[in-house]
Symmetry: C2
Subunit: 201 residues, 2 copies
């Protein structure tokens, strides 16, 4: 019997990815599906496909104001904390590499990093903050040192190129089979796709 599964592609720099990260596990439980957590560098993908580095900064004031409100509405809908970080944008290479280094603890670590940045306004580009996140989760602080490991560096680069090759255009993205869905506001489509590929007894 095959198990339904989906990939969750994310960068900690995306508020929408944070919002999505708070919902993927309940979705997976509803659909009896497994999640593959796929960190990638959103700014790197933007460079590869030709998108402004921080789209928010290119928008009209009206669209920027509306989008801020829309994020808060989603946070309220989901019942999760949300606070615009004082350090934005910031470099997420280190925390993304940390997620890749976490191995079987990637989900727990990633939720912790998302929360530190989008709920607690902590500067997740700093090794000492990442160490604090690891410690609070009961994960070894040594993980942070592995962000300098050449194999981990290469893995993040490869993931970002794979995001491009798979047709992703932003974060969060969800992949079910060969179908790509973009945005936490498309999780209902992800759910329909997962139910379509329900396990055959």
């Amino acid at each position: 019997m095959s198990q339904a599964r989906f990939e969750f592609w994310y960068d900690f720099s995306s508020p929408f990815a944070y919002l999505g990260s708070t919902q993927v596990e309940a979705l997976a439980a509803r659909c009896q599906a497994t999640i593959e957590w796929r960190p990638f560098l959103l700014g790197g993908l933007f460079k590869l496909i030709g998108t402004p580095d921080v789209p928010l900064f290119t928008w009209s004031e009206a669209k920027r104001r509306y989008t801020m409100l829309d994020m808060q509405r989603h946070a309220d809908l989901y019942g999760v904390p949300f606070r615009w970080p004082s350090h934005f944008p910031l470099l997420t290479v280190a925390p993304l590499r940390l997620a890749l280094a976490a191995g079987p603890d990637i989900a727990r670590l990633s939720r912790g990093v998302f929360h530190a940045f989008w709920a607690e306004d902590r500067d997740i580009s700093k090794p000492e903050e990442l160490t604090a996140v690891c410690t609070s989760l009961g994960l070894p602080a040594e993980l942070v040192g592995r962000t300098q490991d050449p194999a981990i560096k290469e893995a993040l680069k490869r993931s970002t190129e794979e995001a491009r090759d798979r047709g992703l255009c932003g974060a969060p993205s969800f992949v079910v089979g060969s179908e790509v869905f973009w945005g936490q506001d498309r999780l209902h489509f992800v759910e329909r796709a997962l139910r379509g590929q329900a396990p055959t007894p």
Copy 2:
């Protein structure tokens, strides 16, 4: 007793507004609400707030391809026909004025124009096509002549400025009280807002 109501702001040039137009009446019925149909010139709003005239043309190829797929997914979800028009972009000043001229028939006329463009690939910038739409709906063909009426011209201009003043940043937009929601994919938020302002007996 006060009746729940919402405004539906649209331009026929927007595929998302077409998709939204196919859903607003069922939503209104579920919430026992009334709809105020508010045509406005999206390109005019974009000029006023500083957005590229046709955002689609400024996107990366990956985002353009994804968005086309996303539109089709919404059409499939709603069970409505959707066909990318061969005349796109096109000038929608005439059909928008026609909607304003239609008075009490604005909903019926607007649905007819949306369908002609987004399901039947008809060039709705042409007076003869607009005449055909009116005739097929049993509305007087003379309405099309009223698109040259200075008062109607002025009304469209004022609506577009009001869209800017109300904080709109795109189409479709939905307004409940002072709350703005953007996109057919936010209709669930509109529904929640309408239920919050349920009639008091």
